[in-house]
Amino acid sequence: MLLSEVGYARPAGVEEAVRLLAQNDGARPLAGGQTIVNVMKARAAAPDVLVDLADLDELRAIGSTADGGLSLGAMATYTQVITSAEVKAARPVLADVAAQIADVQVRNRGTVGGNVCSNDPTNHLPPVLVAAGATMTIVGLEGERTVPAEEFFLGVYMTAVGPGELLTAITLPPLGEAGDGFSAITIGADGTCIVNAAATVQGDEARVALGCVSATPALVTARAEEGAVREAVRGAGLEPPSDVHGSADYRRHLAEIVAVRAVAAAGEGG
């Protein structure tokens, strides 16, 4: 419940934030704090320095991209995503999913960047962004680079953001004729996910990203029809964890079901 001693800095701009992150191996970004503060309370991790991104207003912007897609600043909170007209117009699934995360207090502070960079396998946004084919913008001392969402998630709590780097934005392509869907089985209403799945369906083809079943979202593609989706999920060779909320078998079973439901929801939306 009580943190170890930690250094704290609150830079005014992205460049300074990156500098602070780069100059100390044990430095970590502090976004909404809804994950990292808990981790530090449990003393499961003890960063040396927290770089508070609160003053980086440029990272809070939500807007349209030139091709009609959506750009989310990494510091946009779930509440901002839920209430954003741009999100509703461009990729409404993000608002629907953000509205299912935890509770009002967490949504007022928690950020999209935090959700993806912590990459807890039970998080909501990583599967959504993988299914949607999003692009992640990372800034480091050397400048800016982009990584497709499919390559961004590397392991439990590990992403392509390296030491001295900062995720600054998430960009989603325009929805066009496609549809997005999401389905989850949770521990209690709006609770932690036991399994989840996000689907983006374009015409006949579904991209389905499964969460909670492996260290990173598991992406399968299939014809957008129940039997094909189930077969694709079964063929993915999933080795989900067993824990008090469900065995590996149960998660494998649920994965098929939420995949089908996500695809169906995408069909309704598109």
Partner: protein, 161 residues
């Protein structure tokens, strides 16, 4: 700028500015309870799940155990102690009492702040919206039945404070 392990912060709490030297690791809830002596805000868990520590920060309901005090530098905070005005209870407080929406009272301050946040942003909430608004506030005594009733009564203007 270089990282510091403690710094002087200024936080406006219930309308009064407080300046304190705090360790960077100090949680906001401990600043409020221990350093400022406002013990109405409570601690009920250690994973940010229970909401007993809920306060309004710049008008938004947040869990003060999931914020460092230093993050609140320059912010405006309202705790349960801000609700009653010169001895007159806030309509939410009156409604909670009228509807027996509290038994042990431990979740109540956090519950009231979440309810206030709801009604500040949504004057006519549905029952589902009320439940969503307090979804981050655990109560082990009441089963939430009377809490939802009390908030609904205030929304409908049925409560005189």
């Amino acid at each position: 700028m270089e990282p510091v392990t403690s710094q002087r912060i200024g936080v406006t709490v219930n309308g009064a500015l407080h300046e304190r030297e705090v360790e960077a690791r100090r949680l906001l809830v401990h600043l409020i309870r221990d350093d400022l002596g406002l013990t109405g805000t409570h601690v009920g868990c250690d994973t940010g799940n229970c909401g007993a520590c809920t306060v309004l920060l710049d008008g938004a309901a947040v869990k003060s155990c999931m914020l460092l005090a230093v993050q609140a530098d320059g912010a405006t905070i309202e705790t349960v102690e801000s609700l009653a005005q010169e001895g007159d209870l806030h309509p939410l407080q009156q409604a909670f009492s009228d509807h027996h929406a509290l038994q042990c009272g431990y979740c109540t301050p956090g519950m009231l702040m979440s309810a206030k946040h709801l009604l500040d942003h949504n004057a006519e909430p549905t029952e589902n919206e009320i439940r969503r608004a307090i979804q981050g506030n655990i109560c082990r005594c009441t089963g939430y039945v009377n809490i939802v009733e009390a908030i609904a009564a205030v929304a409908k203007g049925e409560v005189s404070a």
